[in-house]
């Protein structure tokens, strides 16, 4: 920044686009915030980063027992444990991301009220740090693949697309919810409930084909439905359902764009009311 740098501060009202130039200018800070979240997440825990994989792994064991053994829910091909884990990995990422990012502004109220930087870094930083956890749990998944001798298909190339969709869906929800949380503490009660219900309306522990055909499109409105189907398709080669996945990706994009706009609209009041 040279001394010819000039900035004008005016009253801010109404809808505005994200200032991408500024976001780029502050990019190093974003990296630092993600790094901070990663560093402190498992500080002073015995198992440390192992928690990243333990959560979906234990959930996988319990769900296999209850739904597969007791309730006789079947996967659509692969061993149920693999099937469940392939769904739980992205779902855990999504649910933890939404929970943590929706609470992130309040948790960092000191930063919000004492220093300026693009506010979107706070909810997005929380998600960035969780992306590492997703990578770790996918690492464990590859070990499980070897154990079950399940083959990798070329569909694996689709994985980054669905990871991106998961990030966009989580970021969109997180941005909107965190902004709302500053004004309305209702969010604190809504989010855990939403996340809990989400697990059941998303085909995480059952295959998508269990949902009647005429409801399939409706299911696609849940961004994570398409992401979970997509993850399984990419990782395990299970049948893809392109209408549902396409719709989910579109919904994720919409959530992200609207999240950015809503956040931007509300952010200039953050410091005054947090």
């Amino acid at each position: 920044m040279s001394s010819t740098f000039e900035l004008t501060i005016r009253p801010r009202k109404g809808w505005q686009a994200i200032d991408f130039k500024e976001v780029y200018l502050y990019r190093e800070l974003f990296a630092f915030l993600v790094w901070r979240d990663i560093k402190i997440r498992y500080r002073q825990t015995l198992l440390g980063g192992l928690w990243a994989v333990l959560q979906p792994f234990i959930a996988m064991l319990i769900f296999s027992f209850i739904f597969n053994r007791l309730a006789h829910v079947e996967s659509d091909g692969p061993p149920y444990k693999l099937f469940a884990y392939a769904g739980l990995a992205p779902w855990t990422f999504f649910s933890t991301s939404v929970t943590q990012s929706s609470n992130s502004l309040l948790a960092n109220h000191q930063l919000v009220s004492k220093i300026y930087f693009p506010r979107i870094f706070i909810p997005l930083g929380a998600i960035g740090a969780l992306l590492l956890d997703l990578m770790l749990s996918l690492g464990l998944f590859s070990v499980m693949m070897l154990y079950y001798r399940w083959p990798v298909t070329p569909a694996l190339l689709w994985l980054p697309v669905f990871m991106l969709a998961a990030v966009l869906a989580a970021a969109g929800s997180g941005l909107t919810l965190s902004a709302l949380n500053v004004s309305f503490r209702d969010v604190k009660y809504v989010v855990p409930f939403m996340v809990q219900m989400g697990l059941f309306v998303t085909p995480v522990i059952y295959p998508a084909r269990y949902i009647p055909h005429r409801w399939q499109i409706l299911m696609g409105l849940n961004p994570m439905a398409g992401v979970v189907i997509g993850f399984r398709h990419a990782l395990l080669g299970t049948p893809a359902s392109w209408e549902v996945m396409g719709l989910s990706i579109a919904v994720s994009l919409f959530l992200f764009a609207s999240g950015l706009l809503i956040f931007r609209r509300m952010e200039n009041r953050f410091a005054d009311i947090i």
Binding site: F5, T8, I9, R10, P11, R12, E28
Partner: protein, 430 residues
């Protein structure tokens, strides 16, 4: 050349009632508000265009205008709630103004709190990087200045210890050290020198002085008048959201101290009827006291140490008298007499017979009692015996200021005196 900082008609409104409501607002309330809003605005328009919500509106800043040139060190003073912090928050873009605009021509960094973003679980080293980044430093910049920061903070041995194990002194030192090595063109600093031990405060003041000499522009909020007087090239007084005074730091401080006194309720005039502990042997002859400071500015309390004090004593002489004297006694908060001013000590006084209402003025060119509160006793003597006396007639507050011109505030003793120190040749030196 354009000023580096222009503040034009800046106002900031907080909605007090609305704010409290919004903090705990639920969706149901929002829904109600949203539904009733159009109607509210319509009725609001009918009420002289002032929406109903504004009943709770509070202007933290009102129509503030000023320009800051490069190299200016501006001290901003004012009472709590005068709008100082709000102004700094607008300049640092933490909150946006309700009206007006600000133009900033340069890189601005703000330090509204020491250690913003410090995380207790992270080590000293990690916090230096994180805090540096939060304050706007580049990674490369932090790496380049890392050793300097560590040396300034004196925490070399504890770099790999989580800061939650630091003593509060170490914590503050480290936090300030990072901030002190920022390299912006404009630095905005809120009351941050109030933390840390005395020796570290001195170090920070030294660093601030260094920054100011390097030609950078600084806006600086402090209640430490000595620091303002010593560091700043310009002083601004904010009062109830408005810019009341803009001038040299010395004048701004005086203005502020005077505004403090006129705010204290009693005013600079004390009617002696019914105040204090009175003993009237002849009659209640003493009528009124008036207090002034530099340039005949009215004052009740809030006199900066070493400045002028003038007291006018109004009284009545019932019959023609030549032998009358007036005294003023100053007692400290323990009730000990620290100083007595008495008209019998005035050598140039002409003794003349007087009668009726009188005004006797006492001037103290430099009131050098230590900062604190003093109770004033006033007494009138006729024919060398006490005729009327009032203990605790008024109170005078002496405030810290840079008496010695060094930025160092005297703390011990009962009063200050101008004095000098110099080295002389030692007798046994070769």
């Amino acid at each position: 050349m354009n000023p580096i900082l222009e503040i034009r008609n800046v106002s900031k409104q907080y909605k007090l009632g609305g704010r409290r409501l919004r903090k705990a607002e639920t969706f149901r309330e929002l829904l109600q508000r949203t539904v009733s809003k159009p109607f509210g605005q319509l009725t609001g328009l009918r009420n002289n265009g002032a929406p109903k919500e504004d009943l709770y509106a509070f202007w933290a800043l009102q129509d503030v205008n000023t320009e800051v040139n490069q190299g200016d060190i501006v001290g901003i003073i004012g009472r709590n709630g005068a709008g100082k912090s709000t102004l700094l928050k607008i300049l640092s873009r933490i909150t946006s103004p309700t009206e007006g605009m600000v133009t900033i021509r340069g890189r601005l960094a703000s330090l509204l709190e020491v250690g913003t973003g410090f995380h207790p679980e992270l080590t000293g080293k990690e916090n230096i990087f994180l805090n540096g980044a939060i304050l706007g430093m580049r990674r490369a910049e932090i790496i380049r200045r890392f050793d300097e920061i560590v040396a300034f903070a004196e925490v070399e041995k504890f770099l790999d210890t989580p800061v939650k194990h630091y003593s509060s002194g170490m914590y503050v030192r480290l936090a300030f050290a990072v901030a002190a090595h920022l390299d912006p063109e404009i630095l905005v600093v809120d009351e941050v020198l109030a933390v840390g031990d005395l020796s570290f405060q001195k170090k920070c003041l030294g660093k601030m002085g260094e920054v100011s000499r390097s030609g950078r522009t600084v806006l600086f909020v402090s209640h430490n008048m000595a620091a303002i007087e010593n560091l700043c090239s310009r002083g601004i007084v904010l009062h109830q959201g408005k810019l009341h005074y803009d001038g040299t730091p010395k004048d701004a401080i005086q203005y502020y101290l005077n505004s403090l006194s006129t705010q204290s309720g009693t005013g600079h005039v004390v009617e002696l009827n019914g105040v204090g502990d009175r003993r009237s042997i002849v009659a209640p002859l003493l009528k009124r006291l008036e207090f002034f400071t530099e340039n005949e500015q009215p004052l009740v309390e809030g006199l900066s140490i070493g400045s002028r004090l003038k007291v006018r004593v109004h009284f009545d002489l019932p019959r023609p008298t030549a032998s009358f004297n007036v005294g003023l006694g100053f007692n400290n908060s323990y009730g000990q007499r620290i100083f007595t001013a008495h008209s019998m000590f005035e050598p140039s006084r002409s003794i003349k017979e007087q009668v009726g209402p009188q005004v006797f003025a006492c001037e103290i060119p430099s009131f050098t009692l230590m900062p604190g509160e003093y109770a004033v006793k006033v007494f009138l003597e006729l024919n060398n015996s006490e005729a009327d006396a009032i203990e605790d007639a008024a109170k005078i507050r002496v405030l810290e200021s840079d008496f010695y011109g060094t930025g160092k505030v005297p703390r011990n003793g009962a009063f200050v005196l101008k004095h000098a120190w110099y080295l002389e040749q030692a007798a046994d030196a070769k």
